[in-house]
């Protein structure tokens, strides 16, 4: 009955799933139709909740057996108590948020670790399009400049600087392009960045 099986999990979600140890407590922010949580519940006995702004997606999560709570991330994570999760996930959403710094701090208030992924603005194709006089449009940035939800672009170094400013340490970083891991010149060749972060000390 479930449309969420191994074969259909998007490569970027699969990478996140690989970072989550079995039986963790997970909070998935902007969980969409619950694909990641459904997968984690099924394969890693993970417990937790999704947060999602769209009620249609809440129904999809319910159908997939995922506990999803409707909420607006811009309002913070008041529904959740301090240190009540092992991992808090924010997948390809931080660049579209008004309160970028706040959500990062909130994630590490309610969770021991945070996983943040975002399209890397420093990817060479983006730079190339800018050189040609246009705002980038690509697989990971599929919007025109005038109707994009994305308002806070960053590159790897920018995100790492924001973490450093807030006493947040990077535990792990992976950069991918079209589902493949990029190790050489990641800020130039990687279109999607994955970070696992935690409070220092």
């Amino acid at each position: 009955m479930s449309q969420h099986s191994d074969t259909t999990l998007r490569p970027d979600l699969q990478l996140i799933a690989d970072w989550i140890p079995p039986r963790s407590r997970v909070l998935d922010l902007g969980c969409g139709d619950g694909a990641l949580l459904a997968h984690l519940q099924c394969h890693k006995q993970v417990t937790g909740y999704g947060v999602e702004i769209d009620v249609g997606n809440i129904a999809r999560c319910v159908a997939a057996g995922v506990n999803a709570v409707q909420g607006d991330l811009e309002a913070g994570l008041a529904d959740f108590r301090d240190a009540s999760f092992d991992h808090v996930i924010l997948s390809q959403t931080i660049q579209a948020m008004q309160h970028t710094e706040e959500i990062l701090l909130e994630m590490l208030r309610v969770g021991r670790e945070a996983i943040v992924t975002f399209p890397n603005f420093g990817y060479w194709e983006n730079r190339w399009q800018i050189l040609q006089g246009h705002m980038p449009v690509s697989e990971t940035i599929p919007y025109q400049w005038y109707d994009t939800p994305n308002i806070h672009w960053c590159m790897l170094g920018d995100f790492e600087a924001l973490c450093a400013k807030n006493g947040i340490g990077v535990l792990e970083r992976v950069v991918m392009n079209e589902g493949r891991r990029i190790r050489v010149l990641p800020n130039l060749r990687g279109s999607l960045a994955f970070y696992r972060v935690a409070r220092r000390g």
Binding site: Y49, V55, I58, A59, R60, V62, A63, S84
Partner: protein
């Protein structure tokens, strides 16, 4: 579409008599009582597909279908219950009852007190949500239902679903709590008291013993219902439906009905006062006011919910200001803090508190998705 398609069709009510005394929260005891209920669908061999429908303030056991083919309107939740509907009677055995203290066949203030041979009237004890849940559990025993696949209710009905999950954790697989709150706010209690005062101060009320005087406190009931009705709708919804429309197109400079909204409210109030019992209205609003499952746990709702083992669905409506989404969110926060499995949907609607009786598509979709899951859980 014909009227019987997706309907449970023609239904009839049943009665269950209970002779085992029921100790109530108020300290009094009902030595015997009757509950009136209806059932739709078939109980499966494993007795695992039963759903309890809990009614709200002025509700009763007639939740779906019709008594006669030409009945003007079907049961109060016919939009949600029936073959192919979210509470699908092809899959579930649905039980809906009239609570104790009601005026639709269950023992209540208008019933005959066996000790006096006269209507109970003012002597009928105050009943609470936990009392109702106990009475409902006895009905479940009678029907051979050990565990409900789901207990479902809106408003005061949602409170009963919540209480079930706390008082009988092993007997509730899923609790669906719609447009409810973990306890009333001061504003809500205030509204209830204005409604009660309208009834209590009606000269025809006779201290609750109006039955033997051949009187009915119609004016009080009417006012109580008009006030209630205003609070169940939203300003936007009322504006859309009535605006400032005038019945005759011009001001009359008097106090008769001029605006359409006045006409509507008076009509609703009159209709209500024809069929509802004043003492029942007092009891039901008191049950609302007293509801506070956290009270037995030092005011800690999380502690109260710890013992629940059900899966929860909580839903609220954006334009509901009587039980606003914030109140549902309080419940969701407590459920999360108690580490319960919960899904929460905040439905965009202009229908105010009454939206739980309506068919806003996202609401129906959410209920359907959840109940599909319940059906899969209980499938043999």
């Amino acid at each position: 579409m014909s009227t019987t398609e997706s309907s449970v069709g023609i239904v009839s009510a049943q009665q269950a008599l209970f002779d085992v005394p029921l100790d109530l929260a108020c300290g009094k005891t009902l030595t015997s009582y009757q509950l009136t209920f209806e059932t739709y669908g078939e109980l499966n061999a494993a007795r695992s597909n039963a759903i309890l429908i809990c009614h709200a303030l002025s509700g009763h056991h007639h939740a779906a279908g019709r008594y006669q083919p030409d009945d003007k309107s079907p049961g109060w939740w016919d939009s949600m219950i029936g073959p192919g509907k979210p509470i699908d009677t092809r899959r579930f055995f649905v039980v809906a009852l009239n609570n104790l203290g009601g005026c639709h066949g269950s023992t209540g203030p208008s019933s005959i007190n066996p000790e006096t041979g006269r209507p109970w009237g003012s002597a009928f004890p105050v009943v609470t949500v936990p009392d109702w849940v106990t009475a409902q559990a006895r009905l479940a025993d009678r029907l051979g239902i050990d565990r409900w696949a789901a207990v479902i209710g809106g408003s005061l009905g949602g409170m009963q679903a919540l209480q079930w999950s706390i008082n009988y954790p092993e007997r509730v697989a899923n609790a669906i709590v719609v447009a409810a709150a973990p306890k009333l706010s001061a504003q809500n209690i205030a509204f209830n008291d204005v409604a009660r005062q309208a009834i209590l101060t009606d000269p025809d009320f006779h201290g609750g013993d109006f039955y033997q005087n051949g009187a009915i406190p119609r004016r009080g009931l009417r006012l109580a219902r008009m006030l209630g009705h205003i609070t169940y709708l939203s300003d936007d919804g009322m504006g859309e439906k009535f605006g400032r429309m005038l019945r005759s197109g011009e001001y009359k400079f008097g106090y008769d009905v001029e605006f359409e909204i006045e006409s509507y409210l008076r009509y609703q109030g009159d209709k209500f006062s024809d069929y509802f019992d004043a003492n029942t209205y007092l009891l039901m609003t008191k049950a609302l006011d007293y509801f506070d499952p956290a009270k037995d746990h030092g005011g800690d709702l999380v502690a109260a919910l710890k013992q629940a083992t059900a899966n929860f669905l909580v839903a609220s409506f954006t334009s509901d200001w009587r039980f606003s989404p914030l109140r549902s969110r309080e419940l969701v926060q407590a459920l999360i803090a108690a580490d319960k499995r919960v899904a929460y949907g905040e439905i965009e609607s202009t229908h105010g508190h009454d939206a739980f009786l309506m068919t806003d598509q996202p609401y129906v979709d959410l209920m359907r998705a959840y109940l599909d899951r319940v059906a899969k859980e209980v499938a043999a």
